[in-house]
């Protein structure tokens, strides 16, 4: 037997990147800007969308990623916002994140010509979603004050992947021994210069800043993936 060494020198996630570029091409073609919204489970992704999407002047659609169930997409549908549910347990092996191919499979159900902004609500998880581009223009994450201030240090990959970090549930601060200053310090260490918005999706405090950010992304020019 003789063995040969074959030079590969290829990113092992190149296949995903190629599909992400195809998604991006379709989004650009329809003039749709796309946000990949990530967080740990229960940080308030859907609640924040409920608090901000109805007041938005931009035509927005939502792609809901969950392992299973349509609870989140039902909530978004109540707002009369076009929404598509993507369950990762159906044919995807119960994946803990959305990848470019899963998003691609949902595109036929989305009328891209009817929207200017697409929010992709990723599966709740602070690790895997950060690895997979889906064709988005911007990545944002939510960390809620019930999760502890040290999360940026524990999940630097996620915190560095995002241009915006939303700190949610600040209405609970009086009941917690949570130190916002400490969180800001850790955030500054891991992703210096990231935009930070502090808000409560429940009371509405600070959510207008997130709505503004959404509108800002919708107004952006198309850029390379």
């Amino acid at each position: 037997m003789h063995r040969t060494k074959v030079k590969v020198a290829e990113d092992a996630l190149d296949a995903n990147t190629t599909i992400a570029e195809a998604n991006r091409h379709d989004f650009d073609h329809s003039g749709v800007r796309v946000i990949n919204l990530m967080s740990a489970p229960g940080a308030g992704k859907t609640s924040l969308l409920e608090a901000t999407l109805p007041g938005l002047e931009t035509r927005v659609g939502v792609l809901e990623g969950d392992v299973q169930g349509s609870m989140d997409s039902d909530r978004i549908a109540h707002l009369h916002v076009p929404v598509v549910q993507l369950n990762t347990d159906a044919g995807f092996g119960g994946e803990c994140h959305l990848d470019a191919n899963m998003v691609r499979s949902a595109l036929p159900d989305l009328d891209l010509d009817e929207i200017d902004l697409l929010v992709i609500e990723n599966v709740g998880n602070l690790v895997c979603p950060a690895e997979f581009r889906v064709g988005e223009d911007a990545r944002a994450m939510i960390c809620s004050v019930t999760e502890g201030e040290d999360k940026p240090l524990k999940y630097p990959l996620m915190f560095r992947a995002c241009e915006l970090v939303v700190v949610n549930k600040i209405d609970l601060l009086p009941h917690l021994s949570y130190d916002l200053e400490k969180l800001r310090h850790h955030l500054e260490s891991v992703n210096p210069g990231a935009q930070v918005i502090e808000c409560s999706a429940r009371t509405g405090e600070g959510t207008e800043a997130f709505a503004e950010w959404l509108s800002g992304v919708a107004a952006r020019e198309a850029a390379a993936v």
Binding site: M1, H2, R3, E10, A12, C96, F132, L157, P192, G193
Partner: protein, 132 residues
């Protein structure tokens, strides 16, 4: 836990380059910023590679230490703690120059194994010949 998805990516990449030849080893370059647990990756690679040309291939990892460069003062350093600010000039304007790799560097294939049905024989053979 992202190692399952990552292992799938490795297997898919290797299959594309193997040209149907049996793969005996895979050389990977992985940056520390990818937060990969080697044992876990190895475990999932074993599962994902079943019934493919990568079955029984050895996964060899070269871990790349994360390195940063300060765009302001030009200092370069190896990242230990997750602190991405420059300790010399305190700026956050830093560039990651190493540590994000997740690359299949090369693979080693058995040239005699194209379309070979009997895998156990191939394995036995591989066991008694040292790699070149």
């Amino acid at each position: 836990m992202h190692e399952l998805s990552l292992a799938t990516g490795i297997v898919e990449t290797v299959i594309r380059h193997a040209d149907d030849r049996r793969v005996t080893s895979v050389q990977m370059r992985i940056g520390t910023l990818r937060q990969v647990v080697p044992d876990s990756l190895d475990f999932y690679f074993g599962i994902c590679s079943r019934d493919t040309v990568c079955q029984d291939a050895e996964l060899e990892l070269e871990i790349i230490q994360a390195k940063l460069r300060c765009n302001s003062c030009g200092r370069e350093w190896e990242l230990d703690l997750p602190d991405f600010r420059c300790s010399s000039c305190s700026t956050g304007d830093v560039e990651v120059i190493a540590g994000t790799e997740f690359e299949v560097e090369s693979i080693e294939v058995n040239e005699d194994s194209v379309g070979q049905e009997n895998q156990s024989e191939a394995k036995e053979e591989a066991g008694c010949i040292a790699p070149r």
